[in-house]
């Protein structure tokens, strides 16, 4: 079966975090490699979506959706996710 990349997670991440985190830097808890979520290797089937590290194949995150509207977001392999609150060139922190 063919893989996709983390770009397809944008909608699910926006539903989870309230913003599109595909450009956010994530660190793989298995091997330490980091990069934007957009470059994760994604396996998508009706079981759910599994995002894996392109360096070591370790599972970064999972999305599972039930037919009754419940959904689960797992982040077993992301040790931390960088979020940009502000940048020096733009505004000062609130």
């Amino acid at each position: 079966m063919t893989t996709l990349d983390g770009n397809v997670l944008a909608g699910r991440l926006a539903d989870t975090f309230g913003w599109d985190a595909t450009a956010a830097d994530a660190r793989c808890a298995t091997c330490g490699a980091h990069g934007p979520i957009a470059i994760a290797v994604v396996y998508a089937t009706r079981m759910g979506v599994v995002a894996r590290c392109g360096n070591c194949d370790g599972v970064l995150a999972t999305f599972v959706e039930a037919a009754d509207g419940r959904a689960w977001f797992g982040m077993p392999g992301i040790s931390a996710l960088e979020i940009t609150r502000w940048t020096p060139e733009s505004e000062s922190p609130a």
Binding site: M1, T45, G48, R52, V59, V64, A66, R70
Partner: protein, 196 residues
């Protein structure tokens, strides 16, 4: 709030009274993957059962020597498809368990490639499960879990771990991969135990 999309209908197969609730009949065999397909040569293959008392391992020929039997069984995927009366060949876990001593009531199944799933020991024994090598009259394709997979057909098929490598007994039930990420700990299709 979602609305019904004009002209869109779900493509599920036919309903059939022989099926568990929410399942539809299919005649093909869908492949669902959570990661890359491992390539394991039977010459290098090993199956291990590890308990609190030690470990026992079998290579390909040793496991086959325990006695391979023919099975006809239905399989039910949590993604709503069911295949009826599918022919399989494998070694029953009952034969394997003759070499196992444990007080533990649960196992974690481990696969080549890292997949895990948890099963209570009572759901493996008394003719309920096999280590399977053939399906539909042919050796298992790697994409379907070959060279060998766990076959526990009375539970949802994510419990039938592809590329099985071994079982580790546990004193309490702990969640494997899908169970950690939203799926039911036990997975009985007749009770529709799909999710948490």
């Amino acid at each position: 709030m979602s609305f019904i999309t004009r002209g869109f209908s779900s493509r599920r197969g036919e309903r059939d009274p022989r099926l568990p609730p929410g399942q539809s009949l299919v005649t093909d065999w869908p492949v669902l993957s959570a990661g890359p397909t491992p390539e394991v040569d039977p010459a290098d293959w090993e199956f291990v059962v590890r308990t609190e008392n030690g470990a026992h391992s079998w290579n390909w020929d040793e496991l086959h020597a325990l006695g391979v039997e023919d099975i006809i069984t239905d399989i039910h995927c949590v993604t709503h498809w069911t295949k009826l009366e599918m022919p399989w060949r494998g070694v029953p876990l009952d034969k394997i368990w003759e070499s196992v001593e444990t007080e533990h009531d649960y196992v974690m199944a481990h696969s080549y490639g890292g997949y895990t799933t948890n099963v209570p020991v009572e759901h493996l024994l008394d003719g309920k499960s096999w280590i399977a090598f053939e399906a539909d009259g042919a050796p298992l394709d790697p994409e379907h879990g070959g060279p060998a997979r766990l076959l526990v057909p009375h539970l949802y098929f994510w419990k039938s771990a592809k590329w099985i490598r071994g079982l580790v007994t546990m004193p309490s039930d702990e969640a494997g991969f899908w169970e950690q990420n939203g799926y039911h700990l036990r997975g009985d299709p007749w009770l529709e135990e799909r999710y948490w």
